[in-house]
């Protein structure tokens, strides 16, 4: 047995943050991520248990809630808890997803224009207000998009695709800046 230290590395996006025109792309650290998939008929109980433990209930489809940590709807019968360790939730399947995702923050006034180059959804503020979250597709990648502020969007994709994601975002930012 040796004295061993494992060093953590971040998803390989290339150099960030990057600014193009009015928009900035940076890598975020959303802290611990846990997927929560309540079993049949357990969503209510799991929500109550989660609320009791963290103050956060399971939010409705397409929305997220923030408190000490944050929780977002993440798919069919699925939520993602971030920025806090998961409490014990007996009625749900939990998996650690902390290392499974690359998380990028896109900030600036033209977020919807940039994202319009990449995802088949209307992400303008009126259609996708603060607190909205969605699963969608970006050029062959399954992604999650959340509006974290009027001028802020958070994009998550599989960690292994970090480079492709960052490249796709930067190219879209360049085009928006040029037009």
């Amino acid at each position: 047995m040796a004295d061993l230290t494992l060093i953590a590395s971040t998803p390989a996006t290339g150099t960030l943050p990057v600014t193009r025109g009015t928009m900035t792309l940076s890598q975020a650290d959303p802290g611990p991520l846990t997927s929560i998939a309540p079993y049949k008929g357990q969503a209510g109980a799991v929500s109550d248990a989660l609320q009791a433990a963290t103050g956060l209930a399971l939010p409705g489809v397409g929305t997220c809630a923030t408190g000490k940590g944050a929780i977002q709807w993440f798919g069919r019968d699925l939520w993602l808890l971030s920025d806090m360790a998961a409490p014990d939730l007996p009625g749900a399947a939990l998996t650690d997803q902390t290392d499974a995702w690359v998380t990028l923050d896109l900030t600036g006034p033209q977020g919807a224009e940039v994202m319009a180059r990449r995802v088949p959804m209307d992400l303008r503020l009126a259609a996708f207000p603060e607190g909205a979250t969605a699963r969608t597709e970006m050029h062959g990648m399954m992604v999650s998009v959340t509006r974290t502020g009027p001028d802020a969007l958070r994009i998550m994709a599989f960690r292994s695709m970090a480079k492709t994601l960052a490249h796709a975002m930067i190219e879209a930012m360049e085009n928006v800046a040029a037009l």
């Binding site: 061993l4 390989a12 998996t95 319009a116 990648m141 292994s160 085009n175 040029a178």
Partner: protein, 971 residues
């Protein structure tokens, strides 16, 4: 120079450009076509077949003649329509399809041979002898055909794609579209207004008329400015809506004004709850002899050039048609200072202009290679020659119904306007309005635009006062259809493809009477303009030739795109690596630092081998790595295998259903090998299944099938077995995983893990939690090499660091990292399978795994796997092969035959799926699928690889070449 006063060009901004190397000047606001006209360039192109000189026919995207090449070399743009090219400083345009020059083209000799080159002549000749078509005729035809030249160099051109959403998409910014957009926008709708032109307004910019008490172009400018100021309106200039797709999806191509870092074009996918089609109409030519000569132009285009671009297309004009609009053309020409030598109206109509007027007369033919005059046939039958260098013609108008046809509706004929209009309800949610719907006056178009928008506003549940209709011209423009002028000579109906009325008539005689047959036989309507100008004329000729009415003859349908679209725009993002995401494991930097060549595995990149100094070939590295695993310890990045977390009260029962084997009997802390079938009974994938807890399993898949397996498992959970309470979650990305394989693997791990492994706790196929450097990890004692081996998984962030540590420790023990090549050697030595064997056509029976199908329970594929044909004894089944002949090499993809048999299809006995040189055994080994294979161990077969020119004898053997008892893996 034929530049005249007025117009909407910006005379303060002169623009220099070249055409065929000659320097010219135009102004901002010109198109290339208008600037060429202003510079008296009449012949600008050559036709496709006869190489006849051609001038500019139109002023829009319907242009069939004036195709030019922009730029030179890499990135040059062939087949640009001069009428759509916005003039810009330094623009270099060239004529195409002509040699040596557009003025003198040797291929014009084709025009003399025209009697022998009529419709479909090539179907009747050039036959045989053997291959003379490919060797002689076809190359000549190919060289002569085609238009512009595509550069074979890859240009670094930036295109992009984008999505947009709106309540209302207005297609076209003429009077109808502007009024519709304004009405809907003022009611609060989210509006996109798209127009092909760089200047909104449509014919409001081309005709001299008043709207709302001011020049129509000024009104268009004012409305455009109002719309631009509104937050709920997006005006997409230079944007052609190219296609209509299901549920309100529209494709649209936007050209951008050039700039150094700008994309050239954006291809939009617009999702619109409603659309108003306000595409307008294009004018039809009239079929008279030599109507294709430079100087013959559509009358409406003449007005556009005179009124909007201040460019006179000639000095002396003959104007010909059967509508009031030709009178307007004559008036505009006069006002512009062009001498009108004759106004020829095929109707017996009055004329209030002071020009030579020919009522009830027709232009019979054009004189000169470039128009020098015309022959007029008067109402009394007499002929008159009139000198003119410009012939303005109008055969009526074709409403632009194209987009209304994209969802299969056929347009309907309206006799009163002699034109096709969109079928009612042709596209759900799209309202045709204005000229494209058969309206003929500006006032009617404005009203139609407003009414259509009101309908949309009401459907959206919005309210609000509509803007007032501005006053506009309301005079009924009378017109009579005018198709073909009787008389001799060739009369063009398809200018670009050189189709004349004679071709259409001949097609009818040869029984190509269906309009689709006629089109395909004559190629009418198949050119870049898709017959937008002359298509209905051709239909009229066919109707006449076959004794049917026009609607009785039919119409052709229109398919996307409405206007040609660069592949670069539709395929934006695909160039280079952009075609599909790239996936990298956490240890990718380590692989690179060890100079491993990376190969694609699905979307992932994996190390092929890790070359060391002195190793000259991949085989040298591969042999060393394989022996390393057999003799000490090797480390392999296996992160890319799919990992699916299965939890729930019914997880065990669920896995019994998706696997052929039984997973419910697996003990916690143990791993089992599993097969998954498709419902057709053939193998989909294999992998391991680890039981982490009573109600918690971890399923692994092959790299290639990970997505497919997840999909099938979700299908099973949600659709086939909704009674089971189970939750699936991919954890492929969460975990970095490395194989630690070889006799020293336990030593290595004991040196690495926070607590040593107790041998009795870690038998073969055990799994459990461990800790490494304080990081919680998972360990599986599984092997894909036949050696005592483990797979160690840590959260991905530690993957790079862990892999470095593992490799360093392995190297210090005489081992090291191994890549895909060695992994493949090791698994073939053990007869283990990959997708080379699991090729989607093999069954468990074929791979000697029939025992893995627990038929006492239901599982996906169980029933179909029981089909008699899948259990035939002579199916090719898995065996091993060793070369025994003079040639000691085996090759994958080779076929197997009996030693004395001819290597032909009927004699084929099987194929080789995988081969490797085994450094441990010192010879090549192979896995093969051989008919009755398991019964033929010890037999000799001949391997034949025709393609590689290799043939050898081999011995059929058990597919497990190394340690068949499995002592090493358990030890």
């Amino acid at each position: 120079m034929s530049r005249i006063a007025g117009g909407l060009i910006d005379r303060t901004r002169p623009v220099s450009f070249t055409f065929d190397g000659h320097a010219y000047q135009g102004f901002a606001g010109d198109t290339l076509a208008s600037a060429l006209i202003a510079n008296d360039q009449r012949t600008v192109a050559r036709s496709f077949k006869y190489h006849r000189p051609r001038g500019i026919l139109s002023a829009g995207s319907e242009e069939p003649n004036a195709l030019v090449t922009l730029g030179r070399g890499t990135g040059q743009e062939p087949n640009a329509r001069a009428t759509m090219v916005e003039l810009r400083e330094g623009l270099a345009a060239r004529s195409q399809n002509a040699w040596p020059s557009v003025g003198f083209d040797l291929m014009e000799v084709n025009d003399l041979a025209a009697p022998f080159l009529t419709a479909g002549f090539y179907y009747k000749t050039f036959m045989g002898p053997y291959r003379i078509w490919e060797r002689l005729f076809e190359p000549a035809i190919r060289r002569a055909a085609g238009l512009g030249v595509l550069s074979k160099e890859a240009a670094d051109l930036r295109f992009e794609k984008a999505f947009a959403f709106c309540d209302l998409l207005v297609i076209g910014a003429g009077p109808t579209g502007l009024m519709a957009a304004l009405t809907a926008a003022e009611a609060g709708a989210d509006v996109i207004l798209a127009d092909e032109d760089f200047l909104p307004g449509g014919r409001l910019n081309s005709d001299r008329q008043e709207v709302g008490g001011q020049a129509s172009s000024a009104w268009a400018g004012e409305v455009t400015a109002r719309l631009e100021a509104m937050e709920n309106v997006r005006i997409l200039r230079r944007t052609a809506v190219t296609g209509v797709y299901d549920q309100g999806t529209y494709g649209a191509l936007q050209r951008h004004a050039p700039g150094p870092t700008r994309p050239l074009e954006t291809f939009w996918r617009i999702v619109a709850r409603h659309a108003i089609l306000a595409a307008g109409a294009v004018e039809r030519p009239v079929a008279f002899a030599n109507n294709d000569r430079p100087g013959v132009m559509l009358a409406g285009a003449v007005r556009t050039y005179v009124n909007r671009f201040a460019a006179a297309p000639g000095q002396t004009a003959v104007v010909f048609g059967a509508s009031d609009s030709v009178h307007r053309t004559a008036a505009d020409l006069r006002r512009a200072g062009v001498h009108v030598a004759a106004l020829v109206d095929a109707r017996d109509a009055p004329c209030d202009l002071d020009v030579p007027f020919y009522p009830g007369a027709q232009v019979e033919r054009v004189l000169g290679r470039e128009a020098e005059g015309v022959v007029i046939r008067r109402a009394d039958g007499t002929e008159e020659r009139v000198q003119a260098d410009l012939v303005a013609m109008s055969g009526g108008w074709n409403p632009l119904v194209h987009l209304s046809c994209h969802m299969n509706a056929r347009p309907v004929w309206r006799d009163d306007i002699a034109a096709f209009v969109p079928a009612p309800g042709a596209v759900p949610g799209m309202i045709p309005a204005g000229a494209c719907n058969g309206e003929v006056t500006t006032a009617a178009c404005l009203a139609a635009g407003r009414d259509a928008a009101r309908q949309v506003v009401s459907d959206l549940g919005l309210s609000g006062a509509s803007p007032d209709l501005p006053e506009a011209e309301d005079r009924e423009a009378r017109a009579e259809p005018l198709w073909v002028v009787p008389g001799k000579g060739r009369k063009w109906v398809d200018f670009q493809n050189d189709v004349t009325t004679k071709d259409v008539e001949q097609a009818a005689r040869e029984n190509f009477r269906s309009v689709e047959h006629m089109k395909r036989y004559t190629t009418q309507g198949m050119a870049t303009d898709q017959g937008r100008t002359g298509g209905v004329t051709a239909l009229a000729v066919l109707a006449d030739a076959t004794g049917r009415s026009i609607p009785g003859t039919g119409t052709t349908t229109y398919r996307p795109p409405y206007t040609p679209v660069h592949i670069g725009a539709l395929g934006a993002g695909g160039q280079g690596k952009g075609f599909a995401p790239e996936r990298f494991t956490a240890a990718h930097p380590v692989h690179l630092s060890m100079t491993a060549p990376m190969i694609e595995a699905g979307l992932w990149y994996r190390p092929s081998f890790y070359p060391r100094e002195g190793e000259k070939t991949w085989r040298a590295s591969c042999d060393r790595e394989a022996l390393m695993v057999r003799n000490s310890v090797g480390i392999c990045d296996v992160t890319t295998l799919g990992k699916i977390d299965v939890q729930g009260p019914d997880a065990a029962e669920f896995l019994d259903f998706v696997y052929t084997g039984t997973m419910s009997t697996l003990k916690v802390g143990r791993v089992r090998y599993g097969l998954m079938l498709r419902e057709d009974g053939q193998i989909m994938d294999d992998g391991t299944c680890a039981r982490l807890g009573e109600a918690h399993y971890l399923v692994t898949t092959t790299t290639a099938a990970a997505g497919l397996v997840m999909k099938q498992m979700e299908f099973a959970a949600q659709v086939l077995r909704p009674d089971l309470d189970v939750r699936l979650m991919s954890v492929t990305e969460q975990w970095f995983q490395a194989a630690v394989a070889g006799p020293k693997s336990r030593d290595l791990l004991n040196d690495l893990l926070d607590a040593p492994l107790e041998p009795e706790d870690w038998p073969f196929m055990a799994c459990g939690a461990v800790s490494v450097g304080g990081v919680p990890a998972r360990l599986f004692r599984i092997s894909f090499s036949g050696e005592h081996a483990y797979e160690l998984a840590v959260p991905a962030r530690y993957g790079e660091s862990l892999f470095r540590q593992l490799v360093a420790r392995a190297e210090s023990m005489g081992g090291g990292a191994y890549g895909m090549e060695a992994l493949n050697v090791l698994r073939i030595e053990k007869g283990l399978l990959t997708h080379a064997e699991l090729d989607g056509r093999t069954t468990a029976y074929d791979l000697n795994l029939k025992g893995m199908m627990k038929r006492s329970k239901d599982f996906v594929g169980r029933a179909a796997a029981g089909r008699e044909g899948l259990l035939d004894e002579d199916r090719p089944r898995l065996v091993g092969l060793k070369p025994t002949g003079a040639v000691k090499q085996l090759t994958a993809g080779a076929f197997l035959f009996d030693p004395e048999a001819e290597p032909t299809r009927p004699n084929a006995q099987g194929t080789i799926s995988s081969v490797a040189f085994s450094p441990t055994l010192g010879h090549f080994i192979g896995l093969a699928l051989l008919k009755e294979g398991p019964d033929r161990h010890g037999d000799t077969v001949r391997m034949v690889d025709h393609l590689r020119g290799i043939s050898t004898l081999c011995e059929v053997c058990d597919p497990v070449f190394f340690d068949p008892e499995g002592g090493r893996v358990r030890g």
